[in-house]
């Protein structure tokens, strides 16, 4: 199969034009992976190409890169699934991490964030003898998180890390959930209070699902973050705009069956938070002038009492 691969190159030792896209053409077996092609380039065409890889079996997590704009483990990605004969594929280094050379990124921030969430068990006391026993059932719940191979694909494509590097991020938050829900750990509340922090914590996730989509191991980091939000609320960690937002949303849907957008804006800002409320005024005024301010009296679903009854029933079930 004839393929053409554009590779984003970077050479820190070059003084000028150290950033460029280089095209490589080759004839390769249709079942080849993108990694096979890159190794072919390095060994047969251009020995200066830098890339990181190890196991070639999607278990070591070393070969994360962006292929046609999406983070992938290149050892798990077959060329024929992406392009037809003669078409061009674009390979770039992962995003949101500084590039060291060509396709190799600096993963130190990734591990610094892992360290931030104390990724180890912290029991209050040790068992008198023998090992800690955890039930099979309790560990089954952790299987998704435990599948993480720390490849960093979720971090690469996280849309919040793109604008804010203080966000703990999907990988470390998924790792945190692995310890929050481990029955042998006794720091649940401390962990949740730390993760609930307004700056960089669980509420900063924008729920864009990029991490869910790119994760090669089904960890579904965003879903783990949503679990953490739910549990943080349950233990009473409520002093965040994120909590105010979801709480207001629930109240509005329960009361009217529909979303009351004006109420959501006010309650999420915090009804006693004067600076944030003032901040809403210019946008609100512009919307009013253009005739697109949400109705002051919210539109309701017909028969909306039924939704209230459903909410009541669900509450009683808990």
């Amino acid at each position: 199969m004839k393929v053409s691969i554009d590779v984003k190159r970077f050479d820190p030792e070059k003084l000028n034009e150290n950033n460029w896209v280089q095209n490589y053409k080759m004839d390769i077996h249709p079942s080849s992976t993108v990694l096979d092609a890159l190794i072919h380039i390095r060994e047969e065409i251009d020995g200066t190409l830098g890339l990181r890889c190890a196991c070639r079996a999607s278990i070591c997590g070393s070969c994360g890169m962006r292929v046609d704009g999406k983070a992938k483990l290149v050892c798990k990605t077959r060329i024929e699934e992406l392009v037809d004969e003669g078409e061009t594929l674009l390979v770039e280094p992962m995003g949101n991490q500084p590039v060291i050379k060509d396709l190799i990124v600096d993963i130190s921030a990734f591990f610094a964030k892992m360290t931030q969430v104390s990724p180890f068990l912290q029991p209050d006391e040790l068992p008198e003898q023998g090992e800690f026993i955890a039930s099979n059932e309790s560990m089954e719940k952790l299987l998704t998180e435990m599948n993480c191979i720390m490849c960093g694909l979720c971090v690469s494509d996280c849309t919040i890390l793109e604008v804010d590097n203080t966000f703990i991020g999907p990988a470390a938050l998924a790792k945190a959930s692995r310890f929050v829900y481990d029955p042998r750990d006794d720091q649940t509340e401390e962990r949740l209070n730390f993760l609930n922090d307004e700056q960089g914590g669980i509420w900063d996730c924008t729920r864009c699902m990029q991490c869910v989509e790119v994760c090669p191991k089904g960890v579904s980091p965003m879903d783990r973050i949503m679990d953490l939000r739910e549990t943080a609320i349950e233990i009473g960690a409520k002093k965040t705009h994120g909590y105010d937002h979801t709480n207001s949303f629930e109240k509005s849907v329960t009361a009217h069956g529909r979303l009351d957008e004006s109420r959501l804006a006010f309650e999420s800002a915090g009804i006693f938070n004067i600076p944030r409320l003032l901040d809403l005024i210019p946008v609100g005024l512009r919307a009013l002038i253009k005739g697109k301010l949400p109705p002051i009296f919210p539109h309701k679903a017909e028969d909306n009492k039924k939704i209230k009854e459903l909410a009541k029933k669900i509450k009683e079930m808990e």
């Binding site: 990029q210 739910e230 957008e261 919307a287 679903a301 939704i307 459903l310 669900i314």
Partner: protein, 291 residues
């Protein structure tokens, strides 16, 4: 051609121009709709953070309402589309969970069997109506306009719940519709990215950076406007663009954010008052001048 219509809260709230332009387009295409007036809000993924079971129950109840009428659902909003699809996917693959929810909604006489399809107007136009049929209703060619497509997260992820395995071409429909009106769809790398709306009230600084990045880079690539099937993306990218751009790029809001049905209505030559371009925060006059 008839659908159970689920306009969503924002089309009935903050973006009335989405509803009016969609109605005008549906009328021109003779697509029949029956609104699900009893349906509740999908929860937009926000309710699900606090009360996932309530969110799923409300959505399955909506799916059951459409099933009862033997109709598939039409949505106008990427978020409604995504959240309804996720609930549908979840219960179709988990009979036990479906039974639990059916038990909750049976008092009202509903029982969901799992046969309803949820389709955004964008998908309906391409898959059910057909672009050739659509084109036969156009009287104007928008060939002087370049649009940056912007899908909205929930229209593209999670791909499994959105049926992308069976229909991978769904990732390209917006460009197809843009091209059908004779306009140019620019190759916009941010098309599947996030507008920042979900964190607007939680971390406005981040949200504004996202608005600035998306609108600024589309403008730099030569777009006259951005076209989106999601009213939530519209609210953030249009309503907050001024503040976002001045805070982050030191320039001004200059990229109109057009609802997909507005673009179609323009090509159909529908009267501008029905299209509602005057209701946008970012001025849309330049667009009208080029039509």
């Amino acid at each position: 051609m008839k659908y159970a219509f689920y306009p969503g809260c924002v089309a009935r709230g903050g973006t009335p121009e989405l509803l009016s332009s969609s109605m005008a387009v549906l009328k021109e295409l003779d697509i029949e709709i029956e609104e699900l007036t009893k349906a509740g809000c999908t929860g937009a993924g926000v309710l699900q953070e606090k009360n996932p079971l309530l969110g799923d129950t409300i959505n399955v109840r909506t799916l059951a309402m459409a099933e009862e009428k033997n109709l598939n659902i039409m949505t106008l909003c990427s978020t409604c589309q995504g959240v309804l699809s996720q609930a549908n996917h979840k219960v179709k693959n988990d009979p036990e969970y479906l039974a639990k929810i059916n038990d909750l909604i049976k008092e009202e006489g509903y029982e969901y069997k799992g046969t309803t399809d949820v389709k955004h107007l964008l998908w309906i136009l391409v898959e059910d109506y057909g672009l050739d049929n659509l084109k036969s209703h156009f009287v104007k060619e928008l060939s002087d306009l370049k649009f940056a497509p912007f899908y909205g997260c929930y229209m593209v992820r999670p791909s499994e719940a959105l049926g992308f395995d069976e229909r991978p071409e769904r990732q390209n429909y917006l460009e197809q519709v843009i091209e059908s009106v004779g306009a140019t769809a620019i190759d916009f790398p941010g098309k599947f990215s996030c507008c920042g709306f979900p964190v607007l009230f939680i971390n406005q600084k981040n949200s504004l950076k996202m608005v600035s990045n998306q609108t600024g880079s589309a403008k730099d690539l030569g777009a006259d406007a951005m076209v989106t099937p999601c009213p939530l993306c519209h609210l953030n990218l249009d309503g907050y663009q001024g503040k976002a751009r001045s805070n982050n790029r030191g320039d001004k809001a200059d990229l109109p954010i057009i609802h997909m049905p507005q673009m179609i209505a323009l090509a159909m030559g529908i009267e501008t008052k029905d299209i509602g371009l005057g209701r946008h925060i970012v001025n849309t006059k330049e667009i009208l001048n080029k039509v």
